[in-house]
């Protein structure tokens, strides 16, 4: 069973440059390729953070078709990175060490623009200075373009925390792994249509169900979701724990 995070958990505060700042994580779910499963992965991060009462904010960069934002309008910001206002709507809150985790669903149409702007604005440097932990969740793709992207991100940001994500349902062939250790890896199995529909078409928070003990009268949806998603949430929990331990005051 997936361990449930403490209800109403507040991420602990850290002392950064003499200022108390709450632990703030940003999950940048990205790929330069369409249809590799970004929105599903962003959704699962969001489910996990809502399910652990962390009050996350979602940034949907597909201003033309903000699929995920439409399911969680009360906690979503739709941004258009082509405009300065849109850039401010995204980057300004991302550099706030306010303790609220953020998930960025980085649409492939905004992918290049995001990283170019991040570099120009000095986003990763600023985040590090403020004790914010950006994590790049990079989706693999059948053409192995992610490998080049992996190198680009590593050269752009030396301490990049890159999580490689295989969405087996979207990308049938898992690409070659880089010769160096990655920060973390997550595999999303192929979801059956019932589970996929429940996730893609409703605001149902799957983590809440998966993290509680299985009831004797569990529904078909619950049984199938638990079987498919429990390992995914284990991976996400391990990632979250790793990030928390890195910022723990007791860990040197």
């Amino acid at each position: 069973m997936v361990a449930q995070g403490p209800p109403g958990a507040q991420d602990h505060e850290r002392d950064i440059g003499g200022e108390k700042r709450a632990r703030t994580v940003i999950y940048l779910v990205s790929s330069p390729q369409p249809r590799v499963g970004k929105t599903l992965v962003a959704r699962l991060f969001l489910d996990f953070l809502i399910g652990t009462s962390r009050n996350p904010v979602l940034f949907d960069t597909n201003c033309f078709e903000p699929t995920l934002a439409s399911l969680f309008p009360e906690r979503s910001v739709v941004v258009d990175l082509a405009s300065v206002r849109g850039q401010m709507d995204l980057f300004d809150p991302l550099v706030e060490a306010d303790g609220r985790p953020k998930v960025v669903d980085l649409w492939h149409g905004a992918y290049g623009r995001f990283f170019k702007q991040a570099e120009e604005f000095g986003f990763f440097k600023e985040a590090a200075a403020r004790g914010i932990q950006p994590v790049i969740a990079l989706l693999t793709d059948e053409r192995d373009q992610f490998a080049d992207e992996l190198e680009k991100r590593r050269s752009m940001w030396q301490d990049a925390k890159i999580v490689l994500v295989d969405d087996v349902g979207a990308v049938r062939t898992v690409g070659a792994r880089p010769p160096y250790p990655l920060y973390h890896a997550i595999e999303i199995p192929e979801l059956d249509p019932m589970v996929r529909r429940a996730i893609e078409e409703t605001g149902w928070v799957s983590y809440r169900m998966v993290s509680r003990p299985q009831a004797d009268d569990a529904t078909e949806l619950e049984l199938r979701s638990r079987a498919l998603l429990e390992p995914v949430f284990w991976d996400i929990e391990r990632l979250d724990l790793k990030l928390a331990l890195e910022q723990s005051p007791s860990i040197p």
Binding site: V84, R85, Q87, M88, F91, D92, V95, Q117, E120, F121, G122, F123, E126
Partner: protein, 246 residues
């Protein structure tokens, strides 16, 4: 290093003279040579609003204020003085500098003199060049195309341009790139130097809450401006070898 006087001017208003003066102050300060500045927008003083510690507001029509600038060039700690000339006063100011013998002293290399002539988009700007040129034959004359307020310089064709520039000894043409309007507006509202805005500090040196994105725009723009001033070797121009006193 000789004492240096930089005059920033244009006869037309609204072409960005004060913006260029601010950039020069910040550039020189960043390179360890903080200048003193004179704002001739008497009595208002737009430049002084951004750099109150190093700017005096002067009325250049008054002899006493002319003396405050020229007579003290060799006395003060700052080796560079910048004068931001208000619109319509460029010609008279240059005539005054000639009349009081300052430009003669420049020719004798007692002082270094730089003119930053901010050009507007119209041909009338080119006509100003003819007016200014006689005064800067032995000085360092920079023409500045300021794109910060979206000027396109559309009325200039190469032939017209050449007809005005043919006989002018220019030390170089400087192009100030465009800064995003919103970023520029926020710096104006903050009333601080561009670099202070980038550092997210208030005029009182307290932590501010300026937009991270807009600070990024200003930072990148400042880098481009710095590269332009490096390209024309402004620091070398301001520190020429002293005249031999054999």
């Amino acid at each position: 290093m000789n004492p240096a006087l930089i005059v920033v001017g244009a006869d037309k208003g609204g072409v960005g003279k004060t913006t260029v003066s601010r950039l020069l102050i910040e550039y020189l300060t960043a390179h360890g040579s903080p200048p003193r500045a004179f704002d001739t927008e008497y009595p208002r003083g737009t430049l002084r609003r951004f750099h109150p510690d190093m700017t005096e507001v002067v009325d250049l029509t008054q002899t006493s204020d002319q003396m405050r600038i020229i007579d003290t060039l060799q006395e003060v700690g700052a080796k560079v003085s910048i004068v931001d000339i208000r619109a319509g006063r460029l010609g008279p100011t240059l005539r005054t500098l000639e009349d009081i013998g300052f430009l003669e002293a420049v020719r004798e290399r007692q002082f270094t003199f730089c003119m930053f002539h901010i050009l507007g988009p119209s041909v009338s700007s080119l006509e100003e060049i003819a007016l200014v040129a006689p005064y800067v034959t032995n000085g360092n004359y920079f023409t500045v195309k300021n794109h910060v307020n979206d000027t396109t310089f559309f009325e200039w064709d190469p032939e017209t341009y050449q007809s005005f520039f043919g006989d002018v000894k220019s030390a170089g043409e400087i192009s100030i790139p465009k800064l995003n309007e919103l970023a520029y507006e926020q710096v104006e509202l903050a009333g601080v130097p561009f670099s202070t805005f980038v550092e997210n500090r208030t005029a009182e040196n307290k932590k501010a809450a300026y937009s991270f994105v807009l600070r990024g725009y200003v930072r990148n723009w400042l880098r481009q401006v710095e590269a332009e001033l490096d390209r024309v070797k402004l620091l070398d121009v301001l520190s020429p070898p002293r005249k031999s006193r054999r």
